[in-house]
């Protein structure tokens, strides 16, 4: 666990010092919500009804940037080699990087949540369900993003390839999280906790798969 926290701490310290999350990714996330508002002709009732889906589309697009950023910091100066030489197991490196990415996404989701309430006039009826489903979705997105990020990392076409690989993988998260949020925000008559279960399963599968697959991927990169 100590190694996991060390790797996560390293990534978070780099973000705190570089301020890329604050000055580039966060404004992008809010700009996405604003553009989606324009796309629906700024119709307040439509925006409120569709706010769960619009929120998660914004989160997933933002997650693409965050995942690319997460692997870029390892790729610059071949920092990944140093990580491997530190004798930390690939599974722990994966867990640490996924934890750091999840923490960054949680901050961005909180920001987007406030923006959604302000811009889309959304109201949260079941706060516990919203937080639980967002947490499960965030872990799943972070695990898949970290795994697929390192998969595309050393390739010259990373910026274009990663969305092609990652967006289909995010599709179940978008469906599940939108349904769960629909229940939490009172815009859809569904059982949100059942969709929370699907999100949890997705997170579990990708956390295990990522921990197992990260080693061969790092070896292939070096």
């Amino acid at each position: 666990m100590r190694d996991v926290l060390l790797v996560a701490g390293k990534d978070l310290r780099i973000e705190l010092r570089s301020r890329v999350l604050l000055f580039q990714v966060a404004p992008f996330a809010v700009a996405t919500l604003v553009l989606l508002g324009f796309a629906l002709d700024a119709d307040r009732s439509a925006l409120r009804n569709f706010s769960p889906g619009l929120f998660w589309v914004a989160v997933l697009l933002t997650a693409l940037l965050a995942a690319q950023r997460s692997v870029a910091i390892e790729h610059a100066g071949r920092a990944a080699d140093a990580l491997l030489l530190s004798a930390t197991s690939p599974a722990r490196i994966f867990a640490g990087k996924a934890l750091a990415l999840a923490a960054q996404l949680a901050v961005l989701e909180a920001l987007l949540g406030v923006a959604m309430v302000v811009l889309y006039d959304a109201r949260v009826d079941h706060f516990g369900l919203a937080v639980a489903s967002a947490s499960a979705a965030t872990v799943g997105i972070a695990a898949a993003g970290t795994l697929y990020g390192v998969l595309a990392a050393p390739l010259g076409v990373r910026e274009t390839l990663l969305p092609v690989l990652l967006l289909p993988v995010f599709a179940p998260v978008l469906i599940g999280a939108t349904r769960a949020f629909g229940d939490a925000l009172g815009t859809a008559a569904v059982n949100g906790w059942a969709w929370f279960g699907l999100l949890g399963l997705f997170a579990l599968v990708y956390a295990i798969f990522g921990a197992l697959a990260y080693g061969p991927l790092l070896e292939a990169e070096t």
Partner: protein, 292 residues
């Protein structure tokens, strides 16, 4: 196994690459596929009847009529998509275990054929859906949506494979992706049963056995012929991949030999070279220090 390259998959490299993608076995297989396609065409378009039943009112007929003939391509394409992509996932797992180029190329060949079949399944499904469901695309149909996600996932796999990289690194990355995408295959296949109230798709045609006689025979024939076609395509795609790798390796060896020959030649041009001709050994030393 021998139909692909006549070798055991356990060795990391074959004894010799084939000179071309055809062989006596594949030519016989190809002839069988051609005959099968002709036979399937006859049964699908001429011998098998259209789907037509008496309607509730006297003198009226209901059913899918001639549109039902699309089923003879759509259902076989669906079945062989699952098998091709499932084989890709299994070969990917075998690659990660054995690290053999044989498994990597099998996974690549199966993925490529699987993606084409998946596209055929989606297209024929949409063409069938327009007259029967009244729409090209139905977002509420779970199988339709999950199939599209499956298609996009393996299209991404092919995109990853198309990026130039060291063969071993590319194979490892592709194997992880091929294995990860396989999670979707049972979801797509079973979606009609798992989400009965979220689909317009009917339950499995073959499992329920609600069709009979010539229609059922034609459907089974379609599955068999499509299977032969898939096998023929996979064998040839596998051999093309093998030849590509051989050509790449031969090109590299030729370039290395050319550089060595250049370095071995004495330099005669220029005033310094004219005064002190460089020997082959000195040139070799220089090349050696500059190269990796």
């Amino acid at each position: 196994m021998s139909i692909l390259l006549g070798r055991s998959p356990d060795r990391s490299e074959p004894r010799a690459a084939p000179a071309h993608t055809g062989s006596r076995t594949t030519r016989i297989l190809g002839a069988g596929v051609l005959a099968g396609v002709v036979g399937l065409g006859l049964f699908a378009f001429i011998f098998s009847p259209p789907d037509s039943r008496p309607g509730p009112e006297a003198g009226t007929r209901i059913g899918q009529f001639d549109v039902v003939r699309l089923m003879y391509v759509h259902v076989p394409a669906a079945i062989w998509t699952y098998i091709a992509l499932g084989t890709c996932a299994a070969a990917s797992a075998a690659y990660l275990w054995r690290r053999s180029a044989w498994w990597d190329r099998l996974a690549h060949a199966c993925a490529e054929i699987g993606v084409v079949l998946c596209a055929v399944m989606l297209l024929t499904g949409m063409i069938w859906g327009r007259p029967v469901w009244g729409t090209w695309w139905e977002w509420g149909d779970v199988r339709l949506v999950t199939t599209l996600v499956l298609f996009l996932t393996y299209a991404g796999y092919l995109a990853l494979r198309s990026v130039p990289a060291a063969p071993e690194a590319r194979a490892s990355r592709a194997a992880i992706l091929g294995l990860g995408g396989a999670v979707l295959i049972p979801i797509v296949n079973r979606s009609v049963e798992w989400w009965e109230n979220r689909t317009l798709h009917q339950q499995s045609t073959l499992e329920e056995l609600r069709i009979e006689d010539l229609t059922l025979f034609t459907l089974v024939l379609g599955i068999f012929v499509m299977g032969l076609l898939v096998l023929w395509l996979v064998v040839h795609r596998f051999r093309v991949a093998w030849l590509e790798a051989e050509a790449e390796s031969a090109g590299l060896q030729a370039a290395l030999a050319e550089r060595r020959a250049e370095a071995a030649e004495p330099v005669t041009a220029g005033p310094v070279a004219a005064a002190e001709p460089v020997t082959a050994g000195a040139a070799d030393d220089g090349a050696g220090s500059a190269g990796p």
